[in-house]
């Protein structure tokens, strides 16, 4: 065992690294994988390939998007990322070794992979950049193999430079700088070295500038990458740092002193230091609040309502999207009326946040509208989310939902167009094949448990959407179909969150059309509060209020009257009541 470890310790470290990366994404951040996958739609046809390949870095995009589609299954996505990061680490080591690095500094070769792992915490860093960096390392390794053969050296530079730029983008600058440094190191004279380096630099920059004449992109993207980062107007500083680190690590390792004594100790120290720093760096890269939202979106996408509620019970969200996700989950579990005030609420916007021009927030709101039966609005939010994707990609998730909304609305031509697109993908194909049988088939659609029901829920009388009159729209929705329980609960929820008890009392009686076996808790709290405003006791109260609610309101009232600012009113059991929200939280 000891001999095995001493012989293969480097490989073992790489494997351990790979397993850690795999577990990181498969266990801790599957939401990241879903997030990346849902904002693209890889299509198996010639035009998709052509569209990618006609811009610099296009092959990198194509390969990355091909791989990203597999994130649809989390463990495969985690595997892919683990393999890529291990390849980066191994390539970094191979190059460092060719530059003369000593084995005891093997851990330093993990730095580029760790850095990129941390950088990927920015969810807008695209796999295209990672793939491109890996290919740049391979190109550098190729250079090391041929640099001593004059003939091949020149041919390699001449061919690799334009190809690398065209196919993989500005990572050619890593290759360029790597080649220049090696030229300077290996040159017989300083002048020769500078001359050759200048030629290589001019050749590379000249090619890039030549290519730019055919491209309708600003220069900063021509040099900074067209699709390395999801936002086209931004080249993050970290991207440049990562590229610089990829370049200099082999040379730094080469410069580190090698001594025969205490090799094992140095190796162990480097393992510990780099592992700790790596862990810290990666941890810092994954912003908790941001990933909370990404996780909520992931759970909503896969209808994991119980998990959403569990997550909120551990750590209550306070962002509109997080709150909306929790409310949606509560509604889907049929406990919105009972439990909504156990969680943080930020007004009626916590039920249906207003439209925001980004590509993430409208997704959750669209899901809520869809389930309510506000199909046109769900369609709009989903369409806008897709259009808002900054790098102009289409989304499998959005296209799927748009196919559904158009199907429900009988817009079969448009639905068919989206379904045919999905039929050219890998993971949506089966679903699309099945849905093709629904086209123009009113019988199947009406009999479908989801689509048929939503058809019954949706409006039939036209009006213009107004986000300042949400309660009225919900009221119309419920009036159209009084079996739409979610519409009723969102309507009452809206009035409660707006603190409009008059409207709550007006709409509450409509609940008799639904199959409630008890009055939901928060409704009881609102009813009993309203009663107490005009009655000295509970005699004659027309509703079935639970005794504990009656006792609680007495206790709350007593505490509130003695000290309205008592912090205990906002904590514990009282803190989860509608009375707390109604009386105390409006001042915050």
């Amino acid at each position: 065992m000891k001999i095995f470890i001493s012989k293969h310790w480097k490989l073992i470290l790489s494997v351990l690294f790979g397993v850690t990366v795999f577990l990181f994404w498969d266990v801790l951040y599957p939401c990241y994988l879903s997030y990346q996958e849902q904002f693209q739609l890889f299509i198996f046809n010639g035009s998709y390939f052509t569209e990618r390949i006609i811009v610099p870095g296009g092959l990198s995009d194509y390969i990355a998007e091909f791989l990203t589609q597999f994130y649809y299954i989390a463990w495969i996505g985690a595997c892919i990322l683990a393999i890529i990061l291990v390849l980066i680490q191994r390539m970094s080591w191979i190059i460092a070794k060719l530059e003369g690095a000593a084995d005891e500094y093997y851990m330093v070769s993990f730095i580029p992979a760790l850095l990129i792992w941390g950088y990927m915490g920015d969810e807008n860093v695209l796999l295209s950049f990672i793939v491109a960096c890996l290919v740049a390392l391979i190109a550098c390794w190729g250079y090391m193999k041929v640099k001593d053969q004059k003939k091949y050296h020149l041919v390699y530079l001449l061919l690799m430079t334009p190809s690398l730029y065209w196919l993989f983008g500005p990572v050619v600058l890593i290759f360029l700088c790597f080649a220049v440094i090696n030229i300077m190191i290996d040159a017989k004279s300083k002048l020769t070295g500078m001359g050759c380096s200048l030629c290589v630099v001019v050749y590379t920059l000249g090619w890039i500038l030549f290519v730019s004449t055919f491209m309708q992109y600003p220069m900063f993207r021509i040099f900074g990458g067209i699709n390395y980062y999801r936002f086209p107007a931004v080249i993050p500083d970290m991207q440049i740092v990562v590229m610089a680190v990829f370049l200099i690590i082999p040379f730094i390792v080469r410069l580190l002193p090698h001594q025969e004594k205490r090799v094992v100790q140095r190796a162990c120290i480097s393992i510990v230091i780099i592992a700790i720093c790596g862990f810290a760096g990666v941890r810092l890269g994954y912003d908790t609040l941001k990933y909370e939202l990404i996780d909520y979106d992931y759970l909503v996408r896969y209808e994991q309502w119980d998990k959403i509620i569990e997550k909120a019970e551990k750590d209550q969200p306070s962002t509109p999207m997080g709150v909306a996700s929790v409310n949606l989950a509560l509604a889907e579990k049929g406990v919105l009326g009972d439990r909504m005030f156990e969680f943080f609420q930020n007004g009626a916007e916590g039920l249906l946040p207003p439209f925001v021009r980004d590509f993430t927030t409208p997704l959750c709101t669209s899901e809520a509208f869809y389930r309510l039966g506000m199909i046109n609005t769900a369609q709009r939010f989903m369409f806008e989310a897709q259009e808002a994707i900054p790098n102009f990609r289409k989304s499998g998730r959005c296209t799927k939902r748009l196919a559904e909304t158009n199907l429900i609305n009988g817009q079969y031509g448009v639905a068919a167009k989206y379904l045919r697109t999905l039929q050219k993908s890998l993971f949506y194909r089966g679903w699309a094949d099945k849905m093709m049988t629904y086209l123009d088939n009113e019988k199947i659609i009406n009999a479908d448990p989801v689509y048929g029901l939503l058809r019954q829920y949706r409006y039939t009388k036209d009006f213009l959407y107004s986000d300042t009159e949400m309660d009225q729209m919900l009221g119309l929705l419920f009036a159209h179909n009084m079996k739409n329980k979610m519409a009723f609960e969102y309507l009452l929820g809206c009035e409660l969150l707006n603190r409009d008890l008059q409207k709550f009392m007006q709409f509450y009686p409509l609940g008799k059309y639904l199959d409630y076996d008890h009055i939901p808790r928060s409704y009881q709290e609102a009813l009993i509060y309203t009663w107490t405003q005009s009655h000295p006791n509970f005699n004659g109260m027309p509703w079935s209020i639970a005794p504990e609610v009656a006792n609680d309101v007495v206790d709350f009232a007593r505490a509130y009257m003695s000290n309205p600012n008592d912090p205990a009113l906002a904590q514990g059991h009282f803190g989860q009541t509608y009375w707390c929200y109604y009386l105390l939280k409006k001042n915050k």
Binding site: N45, G46, S47, F49, T50, I53, I54, S212, T213, F214, Q216, Y217, P218, R221, P232, A233, F355, R357, M374, I375, N376, T377, R380, F383, E384, Q386, E387, A388, I389, F392, K394, I408, N409, G410, Q411, G413, V414, A416, K417, R420, T421, R458, Y459, T460, K461, D462, F463, L464, Y465, M473
Partner: protein, 495 residues
């Protein structure tokens, strides 16, 4: 563009190697027309148009074989997965049969057996379509957010499309309302919306970026819906306070309305906008200005102002006119209503006079100013000689027909339609003869039309003909847009 052509050429070679290549053998005759996409049976085409390739739309087949015979001369043949004609052969055939017709014999192979359909014909128009091509904007048919979009030009003799300006050159920008002067792009204007907003006026290669916020105190904002004066000395614009709202029922999506709009005429030489109180009234919305071919009349649409959004269904535009003196840039002292669409319970939008002075084509909808979202919108024509108006039934469908433009000889027009699937706008061309007879329109040809249009996620807007290729330095323009250097416009009130 070059790289795209190389890749497509390689792909074509590869496809040729795997396509079917059997010929019809004793086909069974079928006494009906073949189901093809696009529906090109009975259309009229100009000489030199790109080949009207088509796909078989009647189910899965192994092969389609098409023989095209000219009534006067010539014959071409296609055999493969879809009907695809050699461009040069097709051009020659159309030239040889100008004024005549082309007869298409279509055979399809299914389960190893051939069937032959009833022949259909295409007329080759005696009227030339000399313009180089079309310009248009491509954008997804969305609501408020836009993804990739741009203004493009397309060579009508083949399938080449190139970008004039895409919003990749100017991240975040929205580009719109590109307009040449009577199809001559040597005078060209378009509008940029967004953080670096501006109105471009390009004359003979010289670009001027106008400050879009002209005089906000007077409600004179961005310059949109342009139309050049035939002399090139002026360009009419509208300034609109536009909003959108969204329908909640299945058959509707968007309602676009103006809460106010006024007209102005920009004088190129002096960077002035000329304003008339008759065109900037508070109680009417004036929009969509167009000049008559002789430049002495300004036509426009005008609606009684309504409280928006409550009164959005009461917005109905009439076609009006006012005299214009191009010598001194002054307006007449009265506005005449030429077509009272409101009295018909309709709204008249996008008037476009033919360049020969005979007609004004326009879009008619039930109400409103933005008919692309109205299924009932159709193309109508006003005969200026007789004063009669009528829908152009040859080109209208059950879905939206909307924005249109004429070619210079006024025998051809291009228009946008959503007849395909009800959402994605496509372009159609049709001709009109000296007697006013309009022919069946044809969908803008593509190399593989089914694949192209089915995969395209863009709608076509603001189509127009272009006499010559648009020469536009997109890179410099992108830099200029981002630079925020703008020319201020002076306001000159009518005397």
């Amino acid at each position: 563009m070059i790289m795209k052509k190389i890749y497509l050429a390689l792909a074509s070679v590869a496809l040729m190697l795997v396509s079917c290549s059997s010929l019809p053998d004793n086909p069974q005759k079928i006494n009906s027309l073949p189901k093809i996409y696009p529906d090109y049976a009975g259309v009229t085409i100009p000489v030199g148009i790109a080949p009207l390739n088509f796909n078989y739309a009647g189910g899965d087949i192994e092969c389609i074989d098409v023989v095209v015979k000219g009534s006067k001369k010539g014959e071409i043949h296609s055999n493969g997965d879809f009907a695809k004609f050699d461009i040069d052969d097709w051009h020659l055939l159309t030239e040889q049969n100008k004024g005549g017709k082309l007869t298409f014999t279509v055979c399809v192979e299914r389960d190893g057996k051939w069937s032959q359909y009833k022949d259909f014909t295409m007329e080759v128009s005696p009227y030339a379509l000399d313009e180089y091509g079309l310009t248009y904007r491509k954008i997804a048919p969305g609501y408020e957010v836009y993804s990739k979009m741009g203004i493009y030009q397309r060579d009508l003799s083949n399938y080449n499309e190139s970008a004039i300006l895409e919003n990749t050159a100017v991240p975040g920008a929205c580009l719109n309302c590109h307009t040449s002067n009577r199809t001559d792009p040597k005078q060209f204007t378009f509008h940029v919306r967004g953080a670096n907003g501006a109105t471009l006026v390009q004359v003979n290669g010289k670009r001027t970026w106008l400050n879009t916020k002209i005089d906000t105190l007077r409600g004179l904002g961005s310059c949109v819906y342009p139309y050049w004066h035939p002399s090139g000395k002026y360009c009419a614009y509208s300034t609109n306070n536009t909003h959108q709202s969204f329908h909640c029922v299945k058959n509707e999506r968007i309602e676009v309305f103006d809460q106010s709009s006024d007209l102005m005429v920009y004088k190129v030489q002096t960077n002035e906008v000329l304003i008339s109180p008759l065109l900037t009234t508070k109680d009417h919305f004036e929009t969509y200005p167009v000049f008559s071919p002789d430049g002495r009349t300004l036509y426009f649409c005008s609606s009684q102002a309504q409280v928006i959004p409550d009164g959005y269904k009461k917005i109905r535009y009439n076609l009006c006119k006012i005299a214009f003196n191009p010598n001194n840039g002054t307006f007449g002292n009265k506005v005449d209503t030429i077509v009272n669409a409101a009295a018909m319970g309709k709204s008249l939008i996008f008037p476009r006079p033919s360049y020969d002075g005979k007609y004004i084509m326009f879009t008619m909808a039930d109400y409103g100013c933005f008919p692309i979202w109205h299924k009932e919108a159709d193309l109508w024509m006003l005969n200026l000689e007789t004063g009669k108006i009528a829908p152009i039934k040859e080109v209208n469908s059950k879905n939206t027909e909307s924005f249109h433009n004429w070619n210079v000889n006024s025998h051809w027009f291009v228009f946008s339609s959503r007849r395909g699937d009800g959402l994605y706008t496509r372009l159609y061309l049709a001709s009109i003869d000296d007697k006013g007879k309009v022919t069946k329109p044809f969908l803008l040809p593509q190399e593989n039309p089914w694949e192209y249009y089915d995969e395209s996620v863009y709608s076509y807007n603001i189509p127009d003909f272009t006499k010559i290729p648009v020469d536009f330095d997109a890179r410099s323009a992108g830099r200029e847009i981002m630079s925020d250097k703008r020319t201020k416009i002076k306001v000159k009130d009518a005397e």
